[in-house]
């Protein structure tokens, strides 16, 4: 009885000493914590990370998004946080002057001569309410034009929810301007 008690106490003390040894070893190891905001993680550690979504520009014009205004992202978003508004604008109608011999006829033939009206889509506004976004990625993966991607904007903090309602078109414009500036400096 006393023997087993003594053994238990001895084993207990040994287990505590082993614990202390491990703690001491770790005490001497380098610090692993990233002290945000004084330090931030390296950009390569953000590979694959989903920040809020942003628009992808057309390859030929960095000011215009690839978006075709289909509204699929708005429909599929589970949180309903995307608002796209697009406008169908008619391209300048070319008016061909009628044939010389027909100019005096009372009929208005301009319509017949003009080519069929061409229209193109212009994205009027593209708003994201990031407050509700669940970062599921459904919008990005379902966009038929490949016009959406995740940004690497991860250090977001604010006192107002208004600051997380993004106008993605403006964001694209800013990015494009920054890119142009960079290119200019590069060519100098």
């Amino acid at each position: 009885m006393i023997g087993s008690k003594l053994k238990e106490t001895f084993d207990g003390v040994v287990s505590l000493l082993i614990g202390l040894k491990i703690t001491f070893k770790n005490f001497l190891k380098p610090n692993l914590t990233v002290h945000y905001p004084r330090k931030t993680v390296k950009p390569e550690e953000l590979t694959g990370y989903r920040g809020h979504i942003e628009l992808v520009p057309k390859p030929e014009n960095p000011f215009v998004p690839r978006c075709i205004g289909c509204g699929l992202c708005r429909d599929i978003c589970p949180s309903g946080c995307i608002e796209v508004r697009s406008k169908r604008i008619a391209e300048e109608k070319e008016i061909h002057t009628p044939h010389f011999g027909l100019q005096d006829t009372p009929l208005d033939l301009t319509r017949k001569v003009a080519p069929p009206q061409k229209t193109k889509i212009e994205i009027v506004s593209f708003e994201l309410n990031y407050n509700y976004c669940s970062l599921c990625g459904l919008c990005v993966q379902n966009c038929p034009a490949g016009s959406l991607r995740f940004s690497k904007d991860i250090y977001l903090a604010s006192f107002s929810s208004r600051d997380f309602e993004f106008d993605l078109l403006k964001r694209l414009e800013k990015q494009a301007q920054a890119r142009l500036k960079e290119e200019e400096e590069w060519t100098k």
Partner: protein, 387 residues
Amino acid sequence: MFDLELGLDLSGDFYTRHFQPTPSEDTLILNMGPQHPSTHGVLRVILEIDGEYILRAEPVLGYIHRMQEKMGEVKRYEQYLPNMGRVDYLHALAWNWAYVGAVERLMGLEVPKRAEYIRVITCELNRINSHLLWWGAYLLDLGAFTPIMYAFQDREIVMDILQRVSGSRLTYCYYRFGGVSQDIDDIFIEKTKEFCAYLKPRLKMYKDLVTDNIILRKRVEDIGIIEEETLRKYGATGPVLRGSGIKYDVRRKEPYSVYSELDFEIPTASSKDALGRYLVRMQEIEESLKIIEQALEKIPPGPHISPQAPRRPKPPRGEVYFAVEGARGEIGVNLVSDGSAYPYRVKLRSPSFSNLSMFPEIAKGTLLADAVSILGSLDLVIPEIDR
């Protein structure tokens, strides 16, 4: 106030109606929670104690009820995917899997082999992560502060690995109907292998530091003994069930995906106490490492998502149940479809709910400090209970 029609005493708190003060002055009614460090979420347990001993206990649920099941009825099939990451934020991928698995079974959709292996690897990584957090948090409840720091150090590595493919660090929304949303790359495979090699000596260190520690032994040995009958009565699953010596694991009993091709053990413990549940979880981490290593060897090339995978599924009419083994037990999704793009009914079976239901029975007659240990050993995730 007394409601004459219903005959109920509605004064005060509805949930404490069974706990009205008695003429005797020996007992004390105590609220553990809703904000209590040992409940890990907003769980409230009403206790009637005599001195330090618990006479009665009753958990009060619903503080973070978010209508996950109702949301399933008003969202389209694909729109319900992000919800799954939020039901149980610790083993989010298992819930992902249970839901996509149910829809795939309903539609008869074939999942490519590669996708199945990716699912196995990521789900097991997530299980390790969940167990590590439980380990740290449980010891924190028992008064040891350092282990959770070690656990978080390891968790960070897994989260980095999973972030690479899934884009998130906690509430994953990675699986899609017929596969996964992104293929794994060489860096993922390399990092996972590195992690497996790294964690093995760490687990030995954890054993020396914590499992063999006399203070921990005194707090978990012979505490919270759960008999088989109680477990069966309440439908407990997972490590809680295996900690009492019952070898039940959905991965083996009802094999889904490619688990039948992989070689791994189902750890059990015969002691039925908190230590048994502790040891089962620690061994499960090792088994998960074994599974990941085998899966990385066997993973075939091919597409990561089935080419037939629909963007907007419209499963045929019918009802289906799909269960997976989560870190806390059997996760089940019962799906009823009426043929439209919206599910008719989504029923989520969460293991924590059944496991918590046993608590009043096991806590009866124990010390208050042991109740904390028992509650921790059940590994509860409150959002999963309330859904």
